[in-house]
């Protein structure tokens, strides 16, 4: 297929997706449109983690920490001073946070930047470590974030959390940011820089022997991953409209959920990450029936809470053992690939 054809197809596809999103807003009820927004948010989370865990070959378990940072940062910037006055009961919010309120877009950008700064600070000491040590160090970091969120009363409102966030996050913000994320990560992954990252993933020693500064490259990928995690955190916080540090919403469970998405989609594939995010959102809604009362052959069974998580974690382990490539392996969506899939169908 010619390059021009592909560009034209892409230019047609993007407005088409936008139109579908628009129709979904008009035709579907608010429950479904919320899920469609959530898919966009999950997509950003999964794509940013794919950049780190799938492409650059470091294994971070700290994604939830960056998401939490982003959520808190932007929430503190979008809440009105009066609301903050009412919310902060244990201790007063520190100046200048208590008296500012800025638009959602800028709050989201700042959320991303704050998360990126933290990614740099945590990456600097711990990216010198390899493999699983790095995983543990980042996991530790995300726990530290959670513990600070619970205790720093004058900034995070401690255990009470933040409530009644303005519901800024809609389909357009979520999917718009998803588009930005995918564009950035894709062009990075398929540039010389991304090639170097993939080389590091394949063989760290050989990559270094070919003149690549492994530490610097991984650090930059990690910081960019942190930035988009912060963005997704801002969107997620304003989607949930509450940030509660006591529940596991922003804890290790969130990191695990994102891991499920990218493993399901195929570790190392950006397309796979988005598909994984969408599947996860649908599955976790659909599997809700497991936790409600079930009518089985006339017998009423009380729903068991926690069943969904059991199914997901079981599925996760089974994928890892029997189907480690996931849906997409490491390959990406391409128009040529799509055409060849249809050709195969047609021949049969």
């Amino acid at each position: 297929m010619k390059k021009q054809t592909k560009i034209i197809l892409t230019l047609i596809a993007l407005p088409l997706i936008a139109l579908l999103l628009f129709l979904s807003q008009e035709l579907l009820n608010s429950y479904y449109s919320r899920i469609i927004t959530l898919i966009g948010i999950y997509g950003i989370m999964a794509v940013s983690l794919t950049l780190v865990n799938g492409i650059s070959g470091v294994f971070s378990l700290g994604h939830a920490g960056f998401i939490a940072l982003g959520a808190y940062t932007s929430a503190l910037l979008t809440l009105s001073p009066e609301q903050k006055e009412m919310t902060f009961l244990i201790e007063k919010l520190v100046w200048p946070l208590n008296s500012i309120q800025i638009p959602f877009f800028w709050a989201t950008i700042i959320a991303g930047l704050v998360a990126a700064v933290f990614a740099f600070l945590i990456g600097w000491p711990s990216l010198r470590l390899t493999g699983d040590y790095f995983a543990i160090a980042t996991l530790g970091f995300s726990e530290i974030i959670r513990i600070f969120a619970l205790n720093l009363n004058s900034i995070t409102n401690g255990a009470l959390g933040l409530k009644a966030l303005p519901d800024h996050t809609n389909v357009w913000w979520a999917w718009g940011w998803l588009l930005v994320t995918v564009a950035c990560v894709l062009s990075l992954a398929y540039s010389s820089f991304g090639r170097a990252l993939r080389a590091i993933r394949e063989d760290r020693v050989a990559a270094q022997a070919m003149g690549i500064n492994v530490f610097k490259h991984q650090l930059m990928a990690f910081v960019l991953g942190g930035f988009f995690a912060g963005i997704s955190g801002s969107l997620y916080g304003h989607w949930l409209s509450t940030i509660d540090p006591r529940t596991n919403t922003f804890g290790i469970l969130l990191t695990f959920n994102i891991l499920i998405m990218i493993v399901l989609g195929g570790l190392g594939s950006i397309t796979g990450a988005i598909i994984g995010g969408a599947l996860f959102a649908f599955l976790s809604e659909w599997l809700r029936f497991l936790e409600g009362p079930i009518n089985l052959l006339g017998f009423k069974i009380m729903g068991i809470s926690g069943m969904r998580m059991l199914v997901f974690s079981g599925l996760f382990v089974i994928i890892m053992i029997f189907w480690p490539r996931g849906l997409m392996g490491r390959s990406e969506f391409s128009w040529d690939g799509l055409v060849s899939v249809f050709k195969r169908r047609y021949k049969r």
Partner: protein, 264 residues
Amino acid sequence: MSLLTLENVTMKFGGLTAVEDVTLRVEESEIFGLIGPNGAGKTTVFNMVTGHYKPTAGRILFRDNEITALQPDKITRTGIARTFQNIRLFKDLTVLENVMVSQHHTIASNGKAVTWFFKSVSRLGYSEKEREMRNKALELLSVLGLEMLANEKSSALSYGSQRLLEIARAMATGATLLLLDEPAAGMNASETAGLVDTIRRIRDDFGLTVLLIEHDMKLVMGLCERIMVLDHGRTISEGVPAFVQKDVRVIEAYLGREWVTVGK
């Protein structure tokens, strides 16, 4: 001025001395062979030159600049590149990509990395440099006869082709000194003969200097201009092939003392 100089280099791992007091000079544009029985410390010498190990004692100079214990990527950027004994290609990347990766440092080193990073994210200044790298990679692949395989995954290549690809990848770094660790291992006789020609040709055409480790004596004696023999981490002989071949200490090291007395 020698191109590469090792001065009294020693490498100890805990109680084990892998290389002891080795002094070595490689001159510009020669093909130098490093031989010795298994476990003699040849690969350890390579690892010290390329910065993978830090020598316990001694200095390593490249063009009169000290490179002892620099990071491997820095050493590569000063102009030394290597191949690996147990092939370490980027398996999931294509043959072409493997060679292109080695040129990445030319655009992303010395503080340019951050700029390049943002250029990559935003796709500015992308295609021109990329085309340059691609052309150079294709040229190197055709020198080694791999151009037909450019879009294959490197793991799909035959053993011999993988060894050649390792050489192409090392050359693409722009290095002037190539360290080849057993380039002929696993090759059949005709492939080996081809390899001898290839190494000579790249030396002449690209103005390279080659330091190689090899067990195939026919290749070593035919190709190398000078040879150093290591045994148990020490230098036991050094000189032109004809001299080393007749050196009693070398025969002893390879075949044992009894063989020498019987042979007499």
